[in-house]
């Protein structure tokens, strides 16, 4: 499904990712781990084409992701640290916009139903500027639930979530795994990495130093 070869990225001539090569199969969950600043988020942002790499190739569903047409990233969904949405708009408006940008026409009722499931019904019409970190994580989770994708790139999915929110995220990840959807997760918790990942790729000193398979 995803093939990354010889990918490199430097910041101010300091290599963060150096000659990274790995593959992700359909239905596989890969967990990226590593210290702060190791390059995990950078890697995800390059795969989502938010950040340019210095060299290397990325193939997604047998198409060149870095040089291909915008439609090549149609089945790829990136959820980063931040919510990736507009602070002045409500949750309903943000989700409606985000889904329209992915070519989906989702009814307001369906969006509200998903927001209700993730505990955001009461705040559905509030601007998300007033949301807490945990509520923004729930909003991202709702987006992932509504959007169509085959590979999800998610950076620190459990960050800021309370126990209920963490349970919802846990259930969602297991649900996606059972549906054979591919996941790329950045996690800091080794136990969670082993729980969700089919493989853990540890990024250290710019390269993938260790690959644990379960």
């Amino acid at each position: 499904m995803l093939s990354v070869s010889h990918l490199s990225k430097s910041f101010n001539r300091r290599p963060v990712l150096a000659d990274i090569t790995f593959e992700i199969a359909t239905g596989e969950t890969v967990v990226f781990m590593g210290k702060n600043g190791a390059g995990k988020s950078t890697l995800l942002r390059i795969l989502a084409r938010i950040m340019a790499c210095d060299k290397g190739e990325v193939s997604f569903q047998n198409h060149d992701l870095l040089k291909g047409a915008p439609t090549t990233r149609k089945d790829l969904l990136y959820l980063g640290h931040a919510s990736g949405m507009y602070s002045a708009l409500s949750a309903v408006d943000n989700l409606s916009l985000a889904l329209r940008l992915r070519g989906m026409r989702t009814s307001k009722e369906m969006i509200i139903e998903a927001l209700t499931h993730y505990g955001l019904f009461d705040q559905k019409d509030d601007p998300i500027a007033v949301y807490s970190q945990g509520m923004l994580q729930r909003l991202k989770l709702t987006y992932a639930e509504l959007a169509e994708w085959t590979l999800l790139l998610m950076d620190e999915p459990f960050s800021g979530l309370d126990d209920d929110g963490a349970k919802l995220m846990h259930d969602a990840i297991l649900q996606w795994k059972s549906e054979a959807q591919s996941l790329c997760l950045v996690l800091h918790d080794e136990a969670k990495g082993k729980l969700y990942g089919d493989r853990i790729l540890r990024i250290e000193n710019g390269g993938i130093q260790e690959s644990l398979c379960f």
């Binding site: 942002r45 989502a48 084409r49 938010i50 950040m51 340019a52 915008p70 439609t71 090549t72 990233r73 149609k74 790829l76 990136y78 980063g80 640290h81 931040a82 919510s83 990736g84 949405m85 507009y86 602070s87 002045a88 708009l89 408006d93 916009l97 985000a98 329209r100 940008l101 992915r102 070519g103 601007p127 998300i128 923004l136």
Partner: protein, 220 residues
């Protein structure tokens, strides 16, 4: 998809009301400063009025376009936008056209106070003045949207935006001053049409460059 993006820009501004409001307050403040400090005859003020007007528009544009891109940076919304499977050139077009709409609305509101406070006569041909102003606004925003796209990914975007924008938009402001001066003086179209052609060229060049390059300049 362009209409979805344009609607997003307009709706975002409708909900926040930050962009036009800040442009308007700043524009009116400059007019008041002009009015209370230009202690010269009406003839001299009328001669300098086109330059004063477009200089005000230049500063107001920097303020507006910076706000238009900075709310993309809040909560990293721009990442969601460019990661979406859409032609990124359309993002540039939506920023350009929405900026044009905001600038035009702002101009329509400040024009009357500008003429009233500076005690100068309205142009003899208001329709021609309006038509050329719309054309000039398109050119200003074509440049400003491209420059903002380049600057927003930089660490010092607030500094970089005016440093890049002022030199690039200067030809537009010079041409705009010449055109408005000609219209205010009631000159024949042929006397200032060359400046209109320059504006047209800038619209075409920056529009095409912006649409084509936005795919690359938006990546970090």
């Amino acid at each position: 998809m362009f209409l979805v993006l344009l609607k997003k820009e307009l709706y975002n501004e409708f909900r926040s009301r930050e962009l036009i409001l800040s442009m308007l307050v700043f524009g009116l403040s400059i007019i008041l400063a002009y009015a209370f400090t230009s202690d010269v005859s009406r003839v001299i003020v009328a001669n300098y009025a086109p330059g004063m007007f477009w200089a005000m528009i230049l500063f107001v544009t920097v303020l507006g376009i910076h706000r238009s891109f900075s709310y993309e940076k809040e909560m990293d919304a721009f990442s969601m936008l460019i990661a979406a499977p859409i032609d990124r050139g359309l993002i540039y077009l939506s920023k350009w056209i929405s900026g044009f709409i905001f600038l035009t609305v702002m101009e329509l509101i400040v024009t009357i106070p500008f003429f009233k406070f500076l005690l100068i006569d309205f142009p003899p041909n208001p329709l021609m003045a309006l038509g050329t102003a719309l054309f000039i606004n398109l050119a200003i925003m074509a440049v400003a949207s491209l420059v903002s796209g380049v600057a927003m990914r930089a660490r010092l975007s607030e500094v970089l935006l005016p440093v890049l924008m002022f030199p690039l938009v200067s030809p537009v402001i010079i041409a705009a001053t010449k055109i408005s001066g000609g219209i205010m003086a009631g000159d024949h179209y042929q006397l200032w049409q060359i400046w209109l052609l320059i504006i047209g060229s800038i619209i075409v060049i920056f529009g095409l460059v912006g649409y084509t390059l936005f795919d690359f300049i938006t990546e970090e």
